[in-house]
């Protein structure tokens, strides 16, 4: 068996087929989304569907070239590629043209590229390269910090554009890091922070603090089985609460339960901490400090929310959380998107029959909201097919990653899965109104050269690595 045939045979054709399906389906849906009566041909170059065809053909060439390149190129040039992508991100800040309030595009002749898209696979390569180095363990603080820096640098440059969607994508590396051994507590901590953040915006502060205190005692009791101590601590809190309440009632003639609960809990918590310290009961400090932290965090969220987020981001968040009902204002996009998808029904309105997307009721219907066309014209069945294909792709990438022998390939593969998953989840979640509107493309589907090419490169480097998995041992 000569080496070339084994290479061709080792290419994972299943995933290539899924890739082709997604790209072609994306093209057809772009055609339907921006269909122009005057230019009925899908090959019409003056229209988005025509240019998407060119971009797809170019992507195929790109994919072919990637498969031809020796895989040592990727390991050897991982850092230079990363450096080059950072350079592009700097360049875009200097030379980029501002579109929709963000300097995200570089124009080279008639070609326009989005460096942030390419930064994703460049960062992926760099992390893979770093983590595959000898004697590096994700669990070590040094390794974590180094990976953090690799992720943080492009994020910093993207924040300056600013492009919130691309920025958030970099958080998806945490999935890969989890697989590589990042303690689950860190992820859980992040998850709790996220939940607290949202809950703080929706629920009254006083309920949050009451809930945190109650849940804290409950978890402590169930975890340590120290029923007596729990009872003492809780009684202490309640007693202090009643005393403070009485004082507030008499002295100030008004009662702010939030501060009373907070004061009684902080005081009782401190006392409790001292008592248990002398009794040598473990974990108490972690619990109490965690609860203190949660309370301080929920308190500061409102501040962060009003001061750190941009006006339109806050609006989008408000709409998602149901704090604001404004179907013709900021919520317009999501509302129209849900109308388009919802009106598709079970089997859809049929190819080119979607009125909502075709007549521009849905904004960005060929890019960020391309899923609306699927939902409207192909209905629940079509949506199921698309989600099914993505699910298959993601699990296939995980499967491929797991069969790699080298850390480099596995880390790379998981990063691909993480990035694709993040795009998939945010994009469709936003179109169906379960996540806030964050403008990121649906991989392989959305109109646009940069994202299509970047995802093609991302995926085909993995396919290339996989095809030679038997050669790479490191």
């Amino acid at each position: 068996m000569n080496r070339r045939t084994s290479f061709v045979r080792n290419i994972d054709w299943t995933i290539v087929l899924v890739y082709l399906l997604l790209v072609i389906m994306g093209w057809v849906n772009i055609y339907a989304a921006v269909y122009n009566e005057q230019h009925k041909s899908i090959f019409e170059l003056s229209q988005r569907y025509g240019s998407q065809m060119i971009l797809i053909l170019a992507a195929f060439v790109l994919a072919f070239v990637i498969l031809l390149i020796d895989l040592k190129f990727y390991t050897f040039f991982a850092y230079p590629i990363y450096g080059f992508s950072l350079l592009l991100l700097v360049l875009v800040l200097v030379m980029g043209r501002e579109i929709n309030g963000a300097k995200a595009w570089l124009f080279i002749g008639s070609l326009s590229i989005q460096p942030a898209e390419f930064a994703k696979f460049a960062t992926t390569l760099a992390i893979a390269k770093y983590l595959s180095a000898y004697n590096i363990k994700v669990t070590s603080l040094r390794a974590l910090l180094s990976v953090g820096v690799l992720i943080f640098l492009p994020m910093l440059l993207i924040i300056l554009q600013p492009d919130a969607g691309s920025l958030l994508v970099f958080f998806s590396f945490s999935i890969m890091l989890f697989r590589e051994g990042l303690p689950g507590v860190v992820l859980l901590f992040g998850f709790v922070i996220a939940v607290l953040f949202f809950v703080s915006l929706v629920v009254l502060k006083v309920y949050i603090i009451a809930a945190i205190v109650l849940i804290g005692y409950l978890v402590f009791m169930l975890y340590t089985h120290k029923y007596k101590e729990t009872f003492i601590g809780f009684s202490l809190t309640v007693t202090l609460f009643v005393i403070f309440w009485g004082i507030a009632k008499i002295a100030f003639k008004q009662v702010d339960f939030y501060y009373i609960i907070a004061a009684s809990f902080f005081l009782s918590g401190t006392v409790f901490l001292v008592i248990t310290f002398f009794r040598k009961i473990r974990h108490v400090a972690i619990f109490v400090l965690f609860l203190f932290g949660s309370i301080s965090f929920s308190y500061s969220v409102t501040y962060m929310y009003t001061n750190l987020l941009h006006g339109h981001q806050r609006d989008r968040m408000d709409i998602l959380l149901g704090l604001k009902q404004d179907p013709l204002g900021m919520g317009y996009n999501v509302n129209q998107s849900m109308i388009a998808i919802g009106s598709g029904g079970f089997a859809g309105k049929g190819f080119l029959q979607g009125t909502q997307t075709k007549y521009n009721f849905v904004p960005e219907q060929s890019t960020d909201f391309i899923f609306c066309t699927v939902g409207e014209e192909w209905g629940f069945l079509g949506s199921l097919v698309v989600i099914g294909l993505f699910m298959f792709l993601l699990l296939r990438v995980v499967f491929i990653s797991e069969r790699q022998r080298s850390t480099f390939s596995r880390v790379y593969g998981y990063s691909v899965a993480s990035i694709l998953f993040f795009h998939f989840a945010i994009n469709i979640g936003m179109a169906i109104g379960v996540l806030p509107v964050i403008g990121i493309p649906l991989p392989f589907f959305s109109y646009g050269g940069s994202s299509l090419w970047a995802f093609t490169i991302l995926l085909f480097i993995l396919i290339r690595l996989d095809a030679s998995r038997l050669e790479l041992l490191k």
Partner: protein, 612 residues
């Protein structure tokens, strides 16, 4: 083996879980919650209403009375409006710049009823000239378009009250009938209201597909779902336009009413109510202003006297009492009573007569309208020994009176009709106490005074019933509705009075001699020389509003009568002088088609109310 390999399952589970959440969410959006389908339709379909022309209205001879004229509503789609030359635009539509700015600001306010994505009315009923000017330049004003509507137009300035008018629907009309939509026009009063369903026709709709900018992208299903507008049905009224116009001409300086009916059918030939107004005033953009002007006019031109005014019938009512007396057997055609210029009742009280008539029989009493004679008749009716109490005999009397259509609504096709008043025995029980009243208490009913209130329409119907010698058809205004066979069955039902034809013979004879024999109260206005056999009864009705009302009922010819008429002229004095002349002239006009008595006509036109 990598110690963390187990985590691949957690990662896979997160992926699959996310996919499942999406599938459930999509299942909800696309299959369970159907409201999105409607939203999508609202988004992308624009319904263009095709307004049908309203049915035309003709008189009984096929003369066009009411027709349509095109008008142009300027519509605005607020979201599409761009900045434009407000000065030129304002001048094109005859509005001030401030008014235009205010209207645009208002139209852009989002409310429950105002959708800024959908067209709404900006200026209604532009004139043809304005439309012509604006039409050329409309392309400069994106967001505006013109919708063609029709407006009512009147051939003559007659019959305003009974034709009624058309106006924009209000919220209560929309609640009552789903067909009505904001901005539609419906009949508000008169025939326009009664025959709204027939006249309005059916609106059509064109469904257009529009994009997010409301730009038309084509028609929905290539127009297969569109419906064409159906033109409203034309009405042929029973009116004789010439007679109506002539009546209004004669009574132009008076307050009063003249109603003429064709006895053989109940068809109303004319329904004059003065003062009146030009029906054209209540059309178009100035309607609201004109309406409030008419409403505040002290002459009350909007008041439809023919169907709404309660007049005491005065002496014309004597013939009813005569008929009842004959029927009850308390009066014979040759019963004689002596008139010494007044009737004594209730001790020292006296009801005066116009003359000292001496001894008269029934015929003479009708002809010369003797009060004393009919006081005696009325007394005998109520004090009839056949009945146990005044109450009982009064109730029978009242039933007989009401069999002429008096004291109740006809509920035909005349809007705003009132019922008039024939007091019940219960009413007198309340006023005087039970069994505390008798014939002498209510003696003025004998000569059509007291609480009696009769509308001119009812009065004309009374004349009709006598002309027919005992029956009438419900008086009505519409003869034919286009594309529909026959008229309402209600109008074909004969209402019969409980009196012998013979009794009518005597009364008709009396009415004939009133006109045609010297000494008759209506001899002044007789039409013998014209070859018209007219029968009539005069009345001079006392009323609390000043001078007596001049009242007159008549029909002609005596045999196979073609017209029955009742005329009231408020505060004009003696019956034959004004009301009689008007009736006589109108009868001639109707029967002969022309008018030969210029001096009489001129005399009527000299009428003037004394300045207050």
């Amino acid at each position: 083996m990598n110690p963390y390999a187990i985590r691949k399952y957690i990662v896979g589970a997160i992926f699959v879980l996310t996919g499942l959440i999406f599938v459930f969410r999509l299942f909800y959006l696309q299959i369970i919650d159907r409201s999105f389908e409607r939203s999508a339709e609202n988004n992308s379909r624009r319904l263009i209403t095709q307004y049908p022309a309203r049915g035309l209205i003709y008189d009984r001879n096929g003369k066009l009375i009411v027709f349509n004229e095109a008008a142009y509503d300027l519509m605005i789609t607020p979201i599409e409006v761009k900045t434009f030359d407000t000065i030129e635009f304002a001048s094109l539509i005859n509005l001030s710049i401030e008014a235009v700015r205010l209207k645009i600001r208002k139209s852009k306010v989002k409310t429950k009823t105002n959708n800024i994505f959908k067209p709404s009315l900006f200026v209604s009923q532009l004139s043809a000239e304005n439309y012509a000017l604006l039409g050329e330049k409309l392309y400069k004003y994106p967001g505006f378009f013109v919708q063609t509507r029709t407006l009512r137009k009147y051939a003559n300035k007659t019959a305003a009250h009974l034709l009624g008018y058309v106006g924009e629907v209000d919220s209560s009309a929309i609640r009552k009938d789903e067909y009505n939509k904001m901005g539609d026009y419906i009949g508000i009063s008169g025939l326009e209201k009664t025959y709204e369903i027939e006249l309005r026709g059916r609106k059509g709709t064109n469904i257009l597909l529009v994009d997010v900018h409301n730009r038309v992208k084509g028609s929905f299903l290539n127009g297969r779902a569109d419906t064409a507008a159906v033109v409203g049905a034309d009405l042929t009224t029973t009116l004789d336009a010439n007679l109506q116009e002539y009546g209004e001409f004669l009574m132009q300086n008076m307050r009063g009413s003249a109603v003429a009916i064709e006895p053989s059918t109940g068809e109303i030939l004319a329904m004059v109510s003065t003062p009146t107004f030009d029906p054209g005033l209540l059309v178009g953009r100035s309607r609201a202003a004109n309406y409030s002007m008419l409403q505040t006019d002290p002459q009350k031109p909007l008041f439809f006297r023919s169907a709404m005014a309660n007049y005491p019938p005065g002496s014309t009512f004597k013939i009813i009492n005569g008929l009842i007396g004959l029927q009850e057997g308390v009066l014979l055609p040759n019963s004689r009573y002596s008139c010494s210029g007044g009737y004594n009742y209730g001790g020292a009280k006296l009801l005066k007569c116009t003359h000292v008539h001496g001894t008269l029989n029934l015929l003479q009493a009708v002809s010369q309208s003797c009060n004393v004679y009919f006081c005696n008749v009325f007394k005998n009716i109520l004090d009839n020994k056949k009945y146990s109490s005044t109450n009982q005999s009064y109730n029978l009397w009242r039933n007989d009176v009401m069999s002429f259509g008096l004291g109740k609504k006809f509920n035909a096709d005349i809007s705003n009709e009132l019922s008039g008043n024939v007091p019940s025995s219960g009413y007198y029980d309340r006023v005087f106490g039970k069994n505390r009243w008798k014939s002498s208490t209510v003696i003025s009913l004998s000569i059509g005074q007291a609480e009696l209130g009769i509308t001119p329409l009812q009065m004309a119907n009374m004349a009709t019933t006598i002309a027919n010698r005992g029956y009438y058809y419900t008086p009505h205004l519409v003869k034919k509705i286009k594309n529909r066979n026959g008229i309402d069955a209600r109008f074909l039902e004969k209402h019969i009075t409980p009196f012998d034809t013979a009794a009518y013979g005597v009364i008709v004879q009396g009415m004939y001699s009133a006109v045609n024999e010297a000494g008759g109260t209506a001899y002044w206005v007789n039409t013998q020389s014209l070859g018209i056999d007219m029968c009539a009864k005069t009345g001079t009705a006392q009323n609390p509003h000043g001078m007596d009302h001049s009242v007159f009922i008549a029909f002609a010819p005596r045999e196979n009568p073609k017209i029955a008429i009742a005329v009231f002229v408020e505060n004009a004095g003696y019956g034959a002088t004004w009301a009689g002349r008007i009736a006589s002239l109108m009868v001639e006009k109707y029967l002969k088609g022309t008018q030969t008595r210029k001096p009489m006509e001129d005399f009527v036109l000299t009428f003037k109310y004394p300045k207050k």
